[in-house]
Symmetry: C2
């Protein structure tokens, strides 16, 4: 397709509610960066109807007390549906599993990053992998050789492992090789590793471009695109910080991403770099399957495939008033979001209040999970 | 046994020639630290009749030119038998395998250490693991999570991998778990990780105690002893530096070890912490099997099991005139070494000249490798 085709027409199609399994809400502990209210508004504006909230808050979610505390906060303030991660710590490997049925998954931090939850060594990994139920996911921030090490350890214990935010050629190739040998490994990739590389660092600003995993080489970026079939999930790793922080001398790592992921992916579909089938599989269907998340009834996102726009300096609903994607020209935008029968978002307006969102782990378990086939429905075409 | 039993008697037994698969000869490039002459004299004085020489020399052994150069140097100067490692580099993954039949093994450096051969990333590991023949060993300096990652990658490619100098609990436990699941992994442990820990750093001196892997915690040390059945090989990682270097402000990492390994291990036998069977398996038989090394005919070591002595400030034959084991009280010493029918060492005297040693990879391949049972023979008892 040429780049002019999308400028005049209106081509609205209906897609399932998207699910972002990797979101840092920042509440409790850093609500000036983001909170459940702003984060879930940002999600809805981005066409995301369910998020999984990461546990590296302050306090971190590592036991029943902290879990219940965050569950209470999220219940009051969430506008979209959600589930909450448990965090693996060096000291909770014997107790974390008690919370497994209520959790989105267990998150293991194997690298230094924006957290206090870094795990000491492989003996601790092993205890968590042994004690956490096999049916509930374990997700690992495991860069480079740690990708290989955690896959080995999970496979020795015969349990599935999900690798967060693959960013490098070496990472996707080892996951590919492991999948080819039948190992139970799944993985996710973030938009900033798909759409940005070290080539973009000057434009973004060196400090501001800090993120974990870092922005990688164009060769790494290309390897992600060339192995699209290895990627199970797209997730934002939405990791908001204030503008003051990101424009300071030593910015903390992390990007906001909820309001830009779907437009970036729709633009890739528009460019023919991604199929709509892949988008729906990796951003709705596989998150549901891998995390055993329920279907949200009467939930869908209407997108305008032909609306062309330039990503502004900051998005509307996140408190993180900057974006590394500023200035990028994309085709595709979110027109309307319907969540459990209610119009939750339309053309720039959030229409559901804090508290509308539900913890999907508190829903009664369906007898059998269903995975509807989405026939992509044309809603309007002018 | 009590500690007085060994002070008066003379109890000489005959053991096979020991094989040290991990030796840094330092020639070419740093012959003031060590050279083939001094290194192999040190080996013989330590009851070692065959060494495998590491490739991180200057120039490093990474292609035919450097391999032939080191082969010529070793031919002229070695007093004991030997084989030479090839080094894996970031640029020789397509060509290294040509030298495989002549090599002891391929050495892959996955961590920063005393070398220029550090490999970039897992895509480079993968190329080496794919191209090097499965029948010839690959040995990896792979600490912590890298242990897990290289085991995974080798197993995905269905080829054996040998892990150098395990030092930590997390490392031996992952190797144990991998072996239990039938993965083709072998490993070696060094005397300094068996007999020293962070508890010894003050005595040795902080800078001087630098070695890679570092000296680890008493808990790590204990894990090695508690998993003796997981250890395939004892090897020195003999890594000599000059006294000036080791007593400088910022000493390079590495210990001499050839003249102390066998006394330390014999002392462990004396103390009942190790069986003589284990010593012979891990320091003669398994090195032969794993590295496919030939039996040296008429080659044996006579040791005095009851000779008690204190390790001095420096050993006799290595140029590295210090030892981290100084002051340790051991029972067991090397009386005489016979190499291919010649008395090579007796009571402090080296009796074979430089050039007596042979490159065992130049020997005609035996039709079938034999692994004689050593009945431990009492030679004298006074
Ligand atoms: Zn366009
Ligand atoms: Zn992460
Ligand atoms: Zn994250
Ligand atoms: Zn669905
Ligand atoms: Zn004694
Ligand atoms: Zn090493
Ligand atoms: Zn070494
Ligand atoms: Zn033998």
């Amino acid at each position: 397709k040429t780049h002019t085709d999308c400028m005049t027409s209106r081509n609205i199609i209906k897609l399932p509610g998207f699910i972002d399994v990797h979101v840092h809400v920042r509440e409790p502990g850093a609500t000036y960066k983001e909170d459940f209210d702003s984060c879930t508004a940002s999600a809805l504006a981005g066409g995301i109807t369910m998020i999984c909230a990461m546990p590296n808050t302050n306090p971190p979610v590592v036991d029943r007390t902290s879990f219940d505390y965050v569950a209470a906060l999220s219940r009051v303030s969430s506008r979209c549906d959600y589930a909450l991660y448990m965090g693996a710590s060096t000291s909770n490997s014997e107790t974390a599993a008690e919370l497994a049925p209520q959790s989105a998954a267990l998150k293991m931090y194997l690298n230094e990053t924006y957290t206090t939850l870094k795990l000491d060594d492989m003996t601790v990994w092993q205890k968590h992998l042994q004690n956490w139920p096999k049916k509930i996911p374990i997700c690992a921030h495991a860069e480079r050789e740690k990708t290989g090490a955690i896959i080995l350890m999970a496979s020795l214990l015969d349990r599935p492992i999900h690798i967060c935010h693959l960013a490098r050629k070496e990472e996707i190739l080892i996951v590919k090789a492991a999948k080819e040998r039948g190992l139970k490994v799944t993985c996710e990739v973030c938009p900033h590793h798909l759409f940005l590389s070290t080539n973009d660092v000057d434009r973004i600003g060196k400090g501001r471009a800090e993120v974990r995993p870092v922005l990688c080489s164009p060769e790494d970026q290309e390897a992600l695109w060339n192995n699209m079939d290895v990627i199970d999930i797209f997730a934002t790793d939405h990791a908001p910080h204030s503008v003051e922080e990101k424009f300071s001398e030593k910015p903390p790592p992390g990007f906001p991403g909820l309001e830009t992921i779907l437009p970036l992916l729709l633009n890739a579909v528009h460019q023919g770099r991604l199929t709509m089938e892949d988008l729906i599989n990796k951003f709705h269907r596989n998150p549901r399957k891998i995390f055993n998340l329920p279907e949200q009834p009467n939930t869908y996102v209407e997108v305008d495939m032909d609306y062309e726009w330039t990503i502004p300096d900051a998005m509307e609903f996140t408190k993180s008033k900057w974006t590394p994607f500023a200035g990028m020209h994309v085709c595709g935008s979110i027109h309307r979001v319907t969540l459990r029968g209610e119009i939750a978002y339309v053309e720039g307006q959030i229409l559901v209040p804090p508290g509308f969102g539900q913890n999907v782990r508190e829903w009664p378990a369906p007898k059998k999970q269903t995975f509807p086939i989405y026939s992509i429905e044309k809603v309007e075409k002018e």
